[in-house]
Amino acid sequence: MYRHLAWLSIWRRKTRSMLVIMMIALSLSGLLGLQGLYDGMVSHLINTTIRSDSGEISLYAKEYRLNKSLDYRLSPLSTVENTLSKHQEISAYTMRLKQEGIVATARKSLGASLTGISLEKEQHFGQLDAFVTEGDYSFGKGNKGALIGSALAKKLNVTLHSRVIFTAQDATGEINAISFRISGMLKTGNPSIDDNAVFVSMEKMSAFLNLQESATQIAVRVKDTQNIEKIQNELQALWPDTDVLRWDELYPILIQMQELMDIFSLAFYAIVFVVATLGIFGVMLVSVLERMREFGIMLAIGTPYKMVRNQILLEAFFLGFIGYVGGAFLGGVLLFYMSTAGVDLRAFEAGLEMYGYSAMMYANMHLYYFFQAFFAVFFATLLSVIWPLRKLKKMKPIQTIQGKML
């Protein structure tokens, strides 16, 4: 009978039921959206760093990272290439030849790094082409062009097709200069590239530095991120005189940022969780409290307490569940949209870029968000009925009818 009563109560108070369901659904979708976006901010940062620079694993010659001299380079490359291309668990790799120097225009010069790359390999490795914001993903006719970090271009006040001159020491110790026309601009979200990097063809770079078959970094992408350490150990065993480092060893600051963000995220999430839970709790509590008189009447005319309790619980959990389904659906749509189309925060671009965040943010979407949200609704629903039920059990029916609840 309590099922029938609960159903009548929900059905015959459509507006109230709809309001409760909508409140739960909206709170929940907000909770899911924020969680996904917050998670997405950090993983986007890590992801762009891996794509644009480190890969999951990077190989360097010993000492190179301490003393960025061309004396410490990886060479010859054919054996390494042969091994990496045949490795079952490696999905892509790329080789880079990098030298620090000065990039100059007719009016301005700045410290920068010049990196020789293969466009084809970088595209396969980390879709570097996707980071091009202006111009083409190409080095132009005869490989005379260069791709430049957008922030560096801004500082140098150069535009597409502007000529820049790069001056650096070659492998023999001679100071050389080479000129390029800007063929494209990159915005990766990785400040070490956006603020500092100029990319040219590997062939041009090798010739400029008087080097054959050399690289300063070999970056590797793995098929399954669960296997990073295993592959790292394998490669290290193969080339013991090489530094084989994971992305988190290369960018410990990212890990620190991630940990810091995790703390902020946890605090933020806890606040949002508590606010959303309190919102749901409030709506449910009010919806139960406004009917205490009705429950008092039921008890007064002899309805067993257990039946009233079951009716209240069933109503609350039914509304909570429908609210959860609605909220999960809305939140899922919101997350899907934010994870594919992204959220345009260009209004805050300067501030975000300062911390390495992209102005376009993409949300993450994980199944566990929905389990957490389910827990939030369940918890809030349970909490909202415990107190009224305790009161109802303790109080005399006449007190409940007279509204002496508090």
């Binding site: 009563l5 008890l299 005319i301 002899g302 309805t303 307490y305 005399k396 029916p397 006449i398 009818i401």
Partner: protein
């Protein structure tokens, strides 16, 4: 039913303390048709609520058929109310999500009466109380007088042994008051149902076989 030295104090040991009932000693025999009367605030509704187990006495004992019901747990008391007591509240106290038909049949359903028997009884009471037309309406869709008649129908539907009615005629016109009193009187005479009113309505007092007058929580007259 026997009440022995029943006291009721609201907000005891506080500045707001109110002695609602003082040393009430009363006996109600089966088949009585009694009215508790007195001025507003005299304690008649409080006494009625205590008799029906809706509220508890601060001290004293209440016996029903020699069994002390004032010591009953709330669960046991709810069972007693369900099986043996019918309530008619001044404020009707209908269940708003249930239709008139469902309100009248509610207690019978709790008592697991046969569906056919429930429907027959609903129609019988609806005819006596002239509420046939509104059986499928919700309480919010009918007038106060109609709600009171529905409340009466609900209270008597399962034929309880005791009916407690708090100002049952307060919202009824004279014609409906007469009809209600006649119905309760018939129940009282034909089925030996004990009826106790809390009222200061002259018509109710005229119809009563016994009148207990309260003043400031004390019985001042029992005739």
């Amino acid at each position: 039913m026997k009440l022995k030295h029943v006291y009721k104090t609201f907000y005891p040991d506080s500045p707001k303390e109110v002695k609602a009932l003082t040393d009430i000693n009363l006996t109600f025999e089966k088949g009585e048709f009694t009215t508790l009367s007195g001025e507003s605030g005299s304690g008649k509704t409080t006494l009625l609520n205590i008799i029906g187990g809706l509220d508890s006495a601060t001290s004293g004992q209440i016996f029903l058929d020699e069994e002390e019901i004032s010591a009953y747990s709330e669960e046991k008391m709810a069972k007693l109310r369900l099986h043996d007591i019918g309530f008619i509240f001044q404020a009707y106290n209908l269940i708003h999500v249930l239709s008139v038909r469902e309100n009248i049949g509610f207690i019978m359903k709790l008592l697991k009466f046969d569906e056919e028997k429930i429907e027959k009884r609903i129609l019988e009471l609806a005819s006596i109380l002239q509420i046939e037309e509104i059986l499928d309406k919700l309480p919010s869709e009918i007038s106060g007088g109609q709600q009171q008649r529905v409340a009466v129908a609900r209270a008597v539907a399962s034929r309880p042994k005791l009916i407690l009615a708090d100002e049952p005629t307060a919202n009824l016109d004279s014609k409906n008051s007469e009809r209600l009193m006649n119905m309760l009187r018939t129940l009282n005479e034909k089925e030996q149902v004990t009826v106790i009113f809390a009222s200061h309505d002259k018509y109710v007092l005229q119809q009563s076989k016994r009148i207990i007058i309260l003043a400031d929580g004390v019985v001042i007259e029992d005739k």
